[in-house]
Every structure is written in C-alpha cells, then in structure tokens.
C-alpha cells in the first residue's frame, strides 16, 4: 500500500482527451448551438396533457386525476411503466441467482451471530422511527393520485424500515418472527401479478365483442366502457389507486429480499463454496 506506481502514458492521453472534449463542448454551448437561453413557453404536447388531465367539460380524453405526472405514468404512457416493472423484477431475480441462497439448515444464523443487537437507547428510538416510516410510506402510496408520490416512491421508503430493524435489533430477531425470504418472494409475485391483470385484462375482454384496448382507464369515444372515477367520498381515479398499491407491495417486498440476502455472514458462503 505504500509503493507509488508510475502512471503509464495511456492514462495521460485519456485525461487530455477528456479535457479537450470539455473545452470544445463549452465553446459550442457559449456560441448558442444548443440554445442556452431558457424558454418562456412549453411544447403543445405538454399543453394537451395539462389541459385534459382533469377536465369536467370535455370528457373525451380525461384521466380523472388532478396530478398530471401520475396520470401520465399509469394512463397516458402506461407501456413504459409496464416494461420498467418487468426490468426491475428480472434484476432482483438475477441478483438472487448470482448469490445462491443456501439451504434452510445452513442459513439459520443462530450459532454464528450473537443476537443481542445494539444498546437500549438505540432500540427505543428505532421503535419510534420505524412507526413513523411505516405511516408516511403508506400515506404516500394511498394518496398517489392526488398528491406528489406514487407506488415506487412508497416502496423504496418502506424497505428502509426493514433495514433499520436488521441494524438495530439483529437478523435473528427477524428470523424468529417469520420475516424471511420464503415469505417475501410470494408477496412480490402477487404484486406484479396484480399489475399484469389490471393492464392486460381490458385487452382480453375485447375477445368477447366489446371494444376495448390494453391499459384502458376511462371510456373513450370509440371504446365505451371504463372504470369508475370515484365511489362516494373516495376519489379513486379509475384504476390508478390499485396500480399504486400493487406497485408499492411489489417494490417493498423486492428490496426486503435483497437486504435479507446481503446480511448473511460470509462464513456460510465459504462453507457452501467449499473453501
């Protein structure tokens, strides 16, 4: 660690190349090639989305939600979100396949970890913080079609609660209360199955004669059925409420599986690999 290695010439050339690219791009920006002045007006496509997102007078293209960004994620540009959810699903499966969860009698960590956790002050404050995190994340998920938020933001926030429990109490605490990978993997599959049914269901109904299309939310002039925008005092915005909830369940369970697998100590993996 104390030996200083001389840098070869190829790295100096790379550094100079990066600096030259920087200077040329600066010159192009200052000369106005990319249009550096900010505009005072937006594109006509954005005005269409803003005008028709919640328009009670012309219900031809409306999405029944006052939040333009969430209605674009799940209704107007729903295909992008469908493929993004499948990419996330496959990445978690890939990480589990590379790590190779050991068999049940190897992974029970009672003889290796001590199970005491941290001191009493840390445990008391962590109990309060976990309660706050759970309440805030459920509020972000359920109100996703009325306020900033949505399914994915809430799923990331609720996985932090599991992480705090692993750090302050220990992994044995969670294993004895049956929060294991065997419980979280089926929950994740149920979440993604819900999204798939809500998205592809209207397309299958088209086989029986009624005109409809995949990822349909509200009735359009050429397809005459749709989901109900609100029941009584609850404003559901069609199927956006159910989409947000299923995505919340899927993302939260996926990250919990990753944290539980990463916190298995290295001795067990060395035994499995046979070194």
């Amino acid at each position: 660690m104390g030996v200083i290695v001389k840098r070869p010439y190829s790295e100096v050339v790379i550094g100079l190349g990066v600096a030259l690219l920087l200077v040329l791009t600066l010159f192009a920006v200052i000369a106005g090639a990319t249009g550096f002045t900010p505009k005072e007006d937006i594109r006509p496509l954005a005005k269409f989305y803003l005008y028709y997102a919640i328009n009670w007078h012309e219900k031809k293209y409306w999405a029944a939600s006052p939040e333009a960004v969430n209605s674009m994620v799940w209704d107007y540009r729903g295909y992008d979100t469908l493929y993004e959810t499948s990419v996330f699903f496959l990445a978690i499966i890939g990480a589990i396949a590379v790590f190779r969860i050991p068999k049940v009698k190897d992974v029970f960590t009672k003889g290796i970890l001590s199970g005491k956790g941290l001191s009493l002050i840390v445990k008391t404050i962590t109990k309060l913080v976990i309660a706050f995190v759970l309440i805030v994340s459920i509020a972000i998920a359920v109100h996703g079609n009325l306020t900033p938020g949505g399914g994915f933001q809430a799923g990331s926030a609720i996985s932090i609660a599991t992480l705090l429990a692993i750090a302050a109490f220990s992994r044995i605490f969670l294993e004895e209360r049956k929060i294991t990978t065997k419980l979280m993997l089926p929950i994740r599959v149920l979440g993604v199955l819900g999204i798939g049914l809500l998205a592809l269901g209207p397309g299958l109904i088209a086989l029986s004669g009624v005109t409809s299309f995949v990822i349909q939310n509200q009735p359009k002039p050429w397809a005459n059925w749709g989901f109900i925008p609100g029941i009584g005092p609850f404003w559901l915005s069609g199927n956006q409420f159910f989409y947000n909830f299923c995505e919340f369940v899927a993302v939260g369970a996926g990250f919990t599986v990753i944290y539980l697998i990463f916190s298995i100590p290295e001795l067990i993996y060395k035994k499995v690999l046979g070194k």
């Binding site: 660690m1 900033p148 938020g149 949505g150 933001q153 992480l163 990250f255 990463f262 290295e266």
Partner: protein
C-alpha cells in the same frame, strides 16, 4: 429589484456547485467508506436542485434511492471485500 426568478437561479447555482465539489471529492478519495459518504451528500445536493426546478415526485424518489439504497448496498459490498483502494 431582485425578482423571485433571480433568487431561484442563484440558489440553483449554489446547489449545482456543491454537487460538483462532492463528486470530485468522492472520486479522488482512497478510503471507500468516505467515498460512500460523499456520494450520499452529492445525492442530497441534487435533490435540492430538483426541488428548485418544480419536480416534487422526483425529490421523493431520489432521496429514498440515493441516500438509502445506494449507500446501504455499497457499505455491504465494502464490508465483504477490502476497504482501501490501491494507488
């Protein structure tokens, strides 16, 4: 005299300068735990810039991902491999 849009642009310049300083310090550092801390601070500076650009959904997503998930996965990675970087 000073309009609200000018105040927004001055604060945005401050946030992006902080992000540049933290990113440079994170790449130059040899102790990997300090590099992870600088990367989390740079995520906070970017989240402040997104707030000034009127994008509240992205602020929520980015703070949970940048400070929570990236830092935790990198700390797990450092504890299972080596801590110091050669040269």
């Amino acid at each position: 005299m000073i309009e609200p849009t000018l105040i927004t642009e001055i604060l945005l310049a401050f946030a992006l300068t902080l992000a540049l300083i933290f990113a440079y310090l994170a790449i130059r550092e040899r102790d990997l735990i300090k590099a992870v801390v600088f990367s989390a601070l740079q995520s906070v500076a970017f989240a402040y810039a997104y707030y000034l650009l009127f994008a509240p959904d992205i602020v929520l997503a980015y703070i949970a991902v940048g400070v929570g998930i990236y830092s935790i996965l990198l700390i797990y990675g450092v504890s299972k491999t080596e801590r110091y970087e050669e040269v």
